[in-house]
Point group: C2
């Protein structure tokens, strides 16, 4: 007896996709080391060897999920931001798109970023290199602003880390069903990030539209 219609061997869209999505959510919720292959298998209605027919091993599963997450980052954040020439506008795009990505679907994307300990040496190196490229993309925008005298803080690197932390943290507290919706949160964080590093007089700050009406308090646990 399966869920509603489609008994026995339904028309499984793609079993592999379900496995990766389910595993991503579970690892995001409980941590990589505390999530067993048995639990993942049961969650997708398989036995463990049934799961091993589809995936090569636990490390490969994690690596595939993290690679997928980095793909999304490249496509939805770096891609659009690269088109903008003004470093402040580019910075705004990076922060906003990254924040929106974290509020939409999963959030697993972000948390998985710091499960690098579960990877093999080569896998870890590959992921770390992609993360570093992304970080440099962000820092370069800030460095360009610094040499143009548009930063209110003296150091582009610590500014980049601060912004990254602010954005990444969204995955820890934002809940899709809460009082704040994802788009509002992305807007607030973007405004806070830009205001934190840019000179108050910067044109990239004043062109933002309405933010006078409050949305009241939010949703979930602290940290």
């Amino acid at each position: 007896m399966s869920a509603s219609a489609k008994a026995s061997t339904p028309f499984d869209d793609d079993r592999a996709g379900a496995i990766y999505r389910t595993a991503a959510r579970m690892i995001y919720e409980k941590g990589f080391a505390s999530t067993s292959m048995n639990e993942i298998a049961e969650a997708v209605d398989l036995t463990k060897p049934g799961l091993y027919y589809h995936v090569k091993g636990k490390k490969e599963l994690l690596f595939a999920i993290m690679s997928f997450a980095m793909d999304r980052l490249d496509e939805e954040v770096v891609g659009p931001a690269r088109l903008l020439e003004d470093p402040a506008e580019r910075l705004r795009m990076i922060v906003r798109q990254h924040a929106r990505l974290l509020t939409r679907e999963t959030g697993a994307l972000a948390i998985l970023i710091d499960e690098v300990g579960g990877l093999s040496a080569e896998q870890r190196e590959a992921i770390t290199r992609r993360k570093r490229e992304y970080f440099d993309f962000l820092r370069d925008a800030l460095e360009a602003l610094r040499v143009a005298g548009r930063l209110r803080v003296p150091n582009a690197t610590s500014a980049a880390f601060s912004i990254l932390g602010m954005v990444m943290w969204i995955a820890r507290w934002f809940q899709p069903g809460g009082r704040l919706n994802g788009e509002d949160v992305a807007d607030h964080v973007t405004e806070t990030a830009l205001g934190g590093v840019l000179n108050p007089s910067d044109p990239a700050l004043t062109d933002s539209p309405d933010h006078q009406l409050a949305t009241e308090s939010a949703s979930t646990e602290p940290a």
Copy 2:
């Protein structure tokens, strides 16, 4: 004579303290679930049962470490900040002291905060309650600023989470031996946090002294 060598049975200052500090560092580096009691025991030159003579169990060890971390937060952040009446000055003190605490000694203090999954239900509740109290302390300062019309963002809660993320993230990238020293990082992050949420005209922003000379780029991996 007696000062240096001391063979066989030295004069062990406090073995328990060494256990907790070592365990904190290891759990911070590898994660709670991936750190075995055997490894902790070996790191302090004991066998596993020898370790169990000093600690009741793995959960209790984690709980003790996290409680200690929260104690430090209360003493060194909340304590001093409570003395300040102006909410902006209080906010500045919270951010700065928390940032300094993360740059000095370990950083384990922060990372351990999100290993709550390893605790029992009652332990988790106790830690979560303390975290919530701390978060509310931070949010209340921001809410006071909001009703006074001094915030440039509409929501105190999302502002509090953004600041918290920015600060917590320090533990992931800052390295004591790197190009930036801890005090500078704490200053930069404080400046970024305050600038991110306060109106540009706020007196709490302009009274900060020198930040004209850059300290150049930083140390470690992205995230």
